[in-house]
Structures are given as C-alpha cells and as structure tokens.
Amino acid sequence: MTDAKETSAGWRAYALVVPALAVIVLFFVLPLALSGVLAFRAKDGGLTFDHFAKAWDLYRTDLLFTVGIVLLSTVLIGVVAIAIAGYLTLGENPRAVAILRWLYRWPLFIPFIVTGQVMRTFLAKNGMLNHVLIGSGLIEPLAAQSMLDWRGIVVAFVWKQAPFVTLLLAGAMAALEQQQIEAARNLGAPRWRVLADVILPQVRGTMLVGLVLSFVTMLSVLSVPLMINPNSPTMITVDVAYRISTLGDYAVANALCLMSLVVAAGGAWFYLQHAKRQTLQV
C-alpha cells in the first residue's frame, strides 16, 4: 500500500521536473553536444582533426591571449574580493564599513554589454581616467595613452566580476563564528594575520566557487572584447563570432569553442582538486 503510493508520488515528482529539464536538454545540452560533433566532422561526414589544426594554426596566439587575460583577471578578482570582504568583516570603523558595503555592489547590477561601453569611454585616450590623471598631475598630458587593449579587457572584467565574488565571500565570512575571530584578535594577532590564518582557510571553498564561475563566465563573454579590443590579438570569442558571422565557418568556430571548453574544464578540474583537499582536511 505504502509502496504503491510512493511510486505514484515519485512518478508525479518526475513529471513536475521534466518540462524544465527538457528546456535545458533541448536548448543547452544538445547544442553543446552538437559542437563536439561538428568540430570533428569532415565535409564527407568522416572524422577529422583538420578543423583543430586550422584553428590552432590561425588562432593559437589568441588562445594564449585569452587564457592569459582570464587567468590574470581571476587572480585580480580574488585579490580585490579578499581585500573588500576582509575589510567588511574586520573593519573597525563602522561608518567606513557601511560606505564600502554600499559602494562595492554597483557593478554587480551592470550588464557586461554596458560595462563594455562604459570602459570604452572611460579608458580611452580622451577618457575620464586620463583627464583625472593629468588634472591631478600624476602624468604628463603627452604620456596619456589609450588603455583599450588587453588592459582594458582585464579592467572591465575585474570591475564587473569582483563585486560578485566579494558578495559571496563577505556572506561566507559573516557566517563564521565571531568568537574565533575575537579570540585571535585578543591574542594580539594583527588584522591581516587574522584574515590570512583564521578567516580565509574557512571560506576558501566559497571563494573558489565564485572564482571558477567568474573564470567560466569571462571565457564566453563576447561583448567586452568586441567593444574594447576587437583587433588581433584578441579573445577567442571574437574569433568565433568572426568565423560565423563573416565566413559561415561552423567547423573551425566549433573547434575554437571546444578549445575554450577545455580551458573551462581546466578551471573546473582545479576547483575539484582543491575542493577534494578541503574535504580531506575536514
């Protein structure tokens, strides 16, 4: 009796989940699988590695450029997030903490496409950054240069993604036991030691999740590199868009896509290695 009831309830539960699952499978998983198929399929339908050879030949600089930019951005995002979240947790001036908490969140709600446009004007030779640097006497007018190259992309990525990781990190830090932190402070540990030795080891998991999600997101952002630095060397996403929009070349585009998937998988692997180590420690 109970068994029969549970089976029918179980059947109903799956029926409730299936429509949502179908949307994900049809419009996300299958196209992703198709990418794997098309990247290896020759014109006659056979298996080939030519597309990869061509993609590597044409775009290996861009691939390295992409990995470099995304790695550098991820590291900087981590540093900024630790600094802000650390101050929000350990700061002794309540007013400064409140102001910082209000300030840091803004870019979180600004879309990548707007970030691209905003940075395109801000970092240009005639942008506000240069005007402020010249106005404050920090650089000579002639030394003003456009930052709309790899630096612009990194700045845009860090500006947009650091608040996201900070939000996660500050939340995790707030959930820690305050007594521990107070005990360490009472024993005379300076704040940066408390942050490095007491707080960070406990929130490492949260930080890694945030950083890996940011890493993957940045890998497939098209608008920012397209708007800030569309010329070679540029990011893989720009090359994919070019192969498709201009040449209709799905084979090489998909080979490039698979390469960026491999890079993303590298990020996921890194995360799993660290997550495993953490569970072992606990």
Binding site: P19, V114, N126
Partner: protein, 272 residues
C-alpha cells in the same frame, strides 16, 4: 581595556581609500553620463564643449528605433519570465518537497548553463534554429534566454518552497483542503517573495543578454543591447551611452528594491 578611538591620520587615509574606491566605481559611470548629454566633445577637452538633449530627441524619435527595441526587449523578457517560471515552479516544488531519486544530479543539471561557456551553445543553436526557421524570431530568442534563466529560476524557486513551513501545509490538508487547493492557497503565497525575486532576476538577465541574441536574433530581432552595440561600433557614443543608461535603469531600480523581496532566509536555503 583600551577604547578604540579613530586617530586623525588613520581617518584621513581611510577617506582617501574610500574616495579612490568611489572613483573606480562611479568614474566610469560618470563618463557614461557625460557622453549621454554631450552635444559636442572633441579631444582634448576634459568635458563636453556643449551639453544638450539633441541625441535624446533622436533616440526617442520614431525613426530612432530605441523605443521599438525597448519594446522588443521588454516583450522578450516578459515571455522569458513566463516560460521560465511556468516550468521552474513545478520543478522547484518537486525538488524541494517531493522524493526524487537523482535530486542532486537534477539540481546540477540546472547549473550547467552557469558552469559551461555559453558560446558553443549559442553558435550551434543558431545553426539549428536557422534550419527550422526559428532564427530571427522572438520565440527563438525567448527559448535561448529561458534555458539560461532557468538556472536561477529553478534554484531560487526550490529554495523558496523549501523555506515554507511544512506544518502549515499539513494543517491545511488536515482541514480538508485538496493538494491543489493547499498548494494554491498556502504554499504558493508563502513562497511568493522568493518567486518574485527569481522572476526579477530572470527578467533582468533576459533584458541584458547580448551574445545569445547576437547569434539567434539576427537579422530581425533587435533588442536594446544589440542597438547599443551597433551604435557603439558605429562610433556614435552619444546614442550608445543613452541606450546604456536606458538599460541601467531597471537594473539599478532592482538593486534598490531587491532586498525587500529576497529575504535572507530564502537566500540561506539556496542549494540545500
């Protein structure tokens, strides 16, 4: 015990640091505002030579396409919210309340669009849609947006349902309410704040989405982000900045109200 008192040099240093943070955050946005109201701005002037609203008039004129794009964007976002919630509410309820064998695996499947680079998906879905005539249609764009919006919709819906006290549902059932009446009059209203929050997230994500629309929407569906992109690439910074501001309004408004809808107890349940 020594009272912690802020010393002057320290307070000054703090003010300088906060000022720098404020410049980093708001400087780029201020630059955008200047461009939106600039009539003429040539190098090497620090601020525009002339301010005015000519470009605003042009953006909002019938030939400016901005209003049409805004309409398309909002229409697509509304349909995306509708589709996402229509499938996410039952799924979220089942994941929170019913026995599911592969619950963890199913929740992970809904994370995929967030954890895997989206570009390969957009590229190939555009190819498939092209063959079945969905490219350049609103429906095609909505399907792509929904598959991404479901990540948040399902996770937040599941958390919202999990935070509803089961004893309230039991009380309603004991008083003779049918499962459907109980869901409609007890569970759904109690989970509503979380569901509204997820609807807002999905709406904004769809409104701001660029890459998917860029591949799937061409050539007939022009959303506000695409209009902004085209203006910017065409070198028209005023039009691009005004469109960017239009895009920012809902996001900032959302930031100011989100905490009323997204209560801490719902957030705490995410992923449980």
């Amino acid at each position: 015990m020594t009272a912690v008192r802020t010393r002057w040099p320290q307070a000054l240093g703090m003010a300088v640091v906060l000022g720098l943070v404020a410049f980093v955050i708001f400087g780029p946005l201020a630059n955008l505002l200047l461009w939106a109201f600039a009539e003429k701005w040539y190098f090497p002037n620090r601020i525009p030579q002339e301010f005015g609203l000519t470009f605003w008039a042009r953006v909002f004129s019938p030939r400016g396409n901005a209003l049409a794009s805004l309409g398309t964007s909002v229409w697509i976002a509304m349909l995306t919210v509708f589709l996402s919630l229509a499938v996410a509410i039952p799924a979220g309820y089942a994941l929170a309340r019913l026995k599911l064998r592969w619950r963890g695996l199913i929740l992970l499947a809904f994370l995929l669009p967030q954890a895997v680079p989206n570009l390969p998906v957009y590229v190939n879905i555009a190819r498939v849609f092209y063959e079945i005539g969905l490219n350049g249609t609103v429906l095609g764009v909505v399907l792509v947006h929904a598959s991404h919006g479901l990540v948040l919709a399902v996770w937040i819906a599941s958390a919202a349902f999990a935070s509803v006290d089961p004893s309230l549902e039991e009380a309603a059932r004991n008083l003779g309410a049918s499962p459907w009446t109980c869901f409609r009059t007890v569970t759904l209203p109690l989970a509503a704040p979380g569901l509204i929050a997820s609807a807002i997230f999905v709406f904004l994500e769809s409104l701001d989405e660029f890459t998917g629309t860029y591949f799937v929407g061409v050539p007939d569906v022009t959303t506000l982000p695409l209009l902004m992109f085209n203006a910017s690439m065409g070198g028209n910074y005023q039009i691009a900045s005004i469109t960017a501001l239009l895009l920012l309004v809902p996001s900032i408004a959302f930031m100011l109200v989100v905490e009323r809808f997204l209560k801490a107890d719902v957030l705490a349940g995410v992923g449980r």
